[in-house]
Symmetry: C2
Subunit: 212 residues, 2 copies
């Protein structure tokens, strides 16, 4: 133990403060919560925002089905109870990420207003920004796109009397009444939608505006 260069390390008993991490990163921690139907374009917009922020040297991270459903929430199914727990856990993880100073972008259908509102309250109680982005694409457009063939599957199941509880087909989507941002995603490009989100982040002081 003779060679330890520990003289400049100070003993601490508690967490590093949020402000200290935010100063280090040059941004504020925040959760940007995308909600909308399957096929609405949530993920494309979220990834576009993520890449644009990282290009601007900001730390952003997308939580989506890929990294959540196969990991943290792999022991959850699609019952009403499990769907609620799914969103609750994602909300708690987003809050931890935001507390760590990251701009977290979540991309989940999250159809129920009550579940989203609980995540909002969780953030508000911790004085962390929660930005709800409603990706408002008409169901006809989503169903025509059907990138994963899920609508087709849900309609077929329904026709056979075996409902899947698929959002927009045989389970409701509750549109946010007062989202921070609403995007008519069939009228603008993902780049334009991403720019709207980033300008909003600038307006809230979460990332500084670009100069010039």
């Amino acid at each position: 133990m003779a060679k330890i260069k520990a003289t400049n390390i100070t003993w601490h008993e508690g967490h590093v403060g949020r402000a200290e991490r935010e100063a280090l990163l040059g941004q504020k921690g925040a959760t940007v919560w995308f909600t909308g139907l399957s096929g609405s374009g949530k993920s494309t917009i979220a990834f576009t925002v993520e890449h644009a922020l990282v290009q601007r040297k900001h730390l952003a991270y997308v939580l989506d089905g890929d990294n959540i459903r196969h990991g943290l929430n792999k022991n959850l199914g699609f019952s009403a109870e499990d769907r609620e727990e799914n969103i609750r856990r994602i909300g708690e993880v987003a809050k931890l990420f935001a507390d760590a100073g990251l701009i977290t972008l979540t991309s989940f259908i999250s159809p129920y207003a009550r579940d989203r509102d609980q995540v909002r309250r969780l953030h508000e109680q911790a004085a962390l920004p929660f930005i709800e982005v409603f990706v408002n694409t008409p169901i006809g457009v989503c169903e025509q796109r059907d990138p994963k063939g899920l609508y087709k599957k849900a309609r077929a199941a329904l026709a056979q009397g075996k409902g899947m509880g698929f959002t927009g087909v045989d389970d409701p989507y509750e549109a946010p009444p007062k989202p921070e941002i609403a995007i008519s995603a069939e009228k603008i490009t993902p780049q334009e939608a991403a720019a709207v989100v980033i300008e909003y982040l600038e307006s809230r002081g979460i990332v500084p505006a670009l100069q010039g």
Copy 2:
């Protein structure tokens, strides 16, 4: 929509790569998993490492009972099943943090080798460093410290025939056979222990060594 400055935003369909975020942060994402008895000094060392890394402009974050048990895992108790799920979820969150480029320090007793090994495998499968730090303080020392009065409570419960399943009293602690770092925490100060951890992170190239 006329004023959108979106010309420099490129449309992306997938996650930002880990390497890109690591380049931005000047560090590698990793999980430093502290394990040891209640009162062994895990949290003090973890917080000391966190502060030292942030002082060196690195992004580090402690996951501990404070921010996990009251949040993500508030619906878990202390049954064998719930303890396993507790560690599983923490492991998944640590992995997400590491994937986002952070150095995550977890401070949980995590008494069972099997649960810790599952978290290790989870990281290895994702090519993320998992560094197990065994905070090896004799139970006599931990019980004498008893900072939260938990040993006293556990002994009293046991004397009344109402076992709590408290690690070290009436539930086993399985010491890691091959931890990356073992700390005899009653023989060195938290600063010295933190320095050992940071030197290890340097040796693995997770953070660059200080110059001079």
